[in-house]
Amino acid sequence: MDGERLTFDVYEVFAQTDPLGPHQHQFSLLASSPEMAMALAQENFLRRREIYSIWVVRRDQIVKSGPKERERFYRLKKSYRLTEDYRYLADKWRRYRQAPMTPETMV
């Protein structure tokens, strides 16, 4: 019975559990067609959870970043792009509520 080697494609599976949530990557599987990938995703792995939507994508169709990019992403820390830099605003608003500025004090 051993003859030629059987080959399948790797599919990546994404699923959404709630209509307002993102499609999140779940796992990968082997299949020979998108239909087979979709059936396996549901039957083998997604039975226990409530699922709203599934995407299957052949892995070689995905353009992805690699190890070099990951290193670069780590270094991208720009505090002025983050709301954490503006945390002091809440304290200021509290002070203004207690002691509002007036046109007179603003001169």
Partner: protein, 312 residues
């Protein structure tokens, strides 16, 4: 794959491990790291698949429809876990020119071992309960540790698996409690199943290698593939489960078993480690029957896989 590795690269890799970074499948990694991962994850994958066999024997004989549905769902989960882990292993062997078929051939030839507990027979319904409660309980202790492993794809698969194993333990607790609260013969069958499984559970985490850790254990700790030793995991298992076992009126078949407060550890009778080695080498009581069944279904299913592969 080079056999000689650039020492600078190796040093940079180990520095990443020490910083607690996670390694991805497409990252550079030393051959030794890859080999350790393949050894661990392929073994875990086939153990999930072989582990479904003793329980599937109980699907047609489950005592109620509810139990039948629950154990069927568990068996199906375990095969799913095997498939998820198989994918993680495949991505690791792919650069070596190997596929899933090679991993399964290794299983059939005995080169790829599966876990000692799945070489044991499950002659009564109480065995199905003990497997789900205590074998899965032991598995979750190992897998809980592995959630901090340095290899990210393994951890991502484990996050799913651990969540489902949590359900399996409750399924087992429910079976065992029902038997413990039942008739004298039900209690007797539960105690007998515990006695049957006790040596296998004591072997579950492997030998205590505190005095001379194996090169595999040392490498796995260095690469942070694992973070605890066999003995640390076994101690954790005993701390968690011995009180629960006793609270169901069950008696572990080891008169020396006790917690030594001074040493801060459980004292227990060593299982027969020679027997352990024979079991994992395919000489356990159910090894050959289960492997034969797996090989047969794999061969008989080849036409179906071939038909699906032709659809490309």
């Amino acid at each position: 794959m080079t056999t000689r590795e650039d020492p600078d690269r190796l040093e940079a890799f180990l520095a990443r491990i020490d910083r607690g970074e996670r390694i991805e499948a497409d990252d550079w990694m030393p051959d030794d790291y890859r080999q350790q991962l393949i050894r661990l994850i392929a073994m875990h994958a086939v153990s999930e698949i072989m582990g479904a066999l003793p329980e599937k024997e109980w699907v047609p004989k489950a005592p109620t429809l509810y139990r039948k549905l629950a154990i069927m769902a568990k068996v199906q989960d375990e095969i799913g876990h095997g498939q998820l882990l198989m994918r993680v292993a495949e991505d690791l062997v792919a650069p070596l020119g190997k596929t899933r078929e090679d991993l399964l051939d290794d299983l059939f030839s005995g080169r790829l071992k599966f876990h000692n507990v799945f070489h044991m027979p499950a002659p009564t319904w109480a065995d199905a309960g003990i497997i789900a409660w205590l074998v899965d309980g032991a598995a979750i202790i190992t897998q809980g540790m592995s959630l901090s492993s340095s290899y990210a794809p393994y951890v991502r698969a484990l996050q799913r698996i651990v969540e489902e194993e949590g359900f399996h333990i409750q399924h087992g607790e429910s079976i065992c409690m029902a038997l413990a609260e039942g008739s004298a013969s039900q209690r007797h069958s539960l105690q007998a199943a515990l006695e049957r499984w006790w040596p296998a559970l004591m072997m579950f985490f492997g030998p205590n290698e505190a005095d001379h850790p194996s090169s595999h254990q040392k490498a796995n700790l260095r690469y942070r593939i694992r973070t605890k030793t066999n003995e640390e995991l076994r101690q954790r298992f005993l701390t968690k489960y011995v009180p629960r076992i006793r609270s169901l009126g069950l008696v572990p078949p080891d008169p020396t078993l006790h917690y030594d407060a001074e040493q801060g550890r459980w004292i227990y009778q060593q299982p027969d480690w020679e027997w352990f080695r024979r079991i994992i080498n395919g000489q356990g009581p159910a090894s050959s029957a289960r492997l034969t069944l797996k090989r047969l279904t794999y061969e008989e299913g080849r036409w179906a896989r071939a038909a699906l592969a032709q659809g490309r």
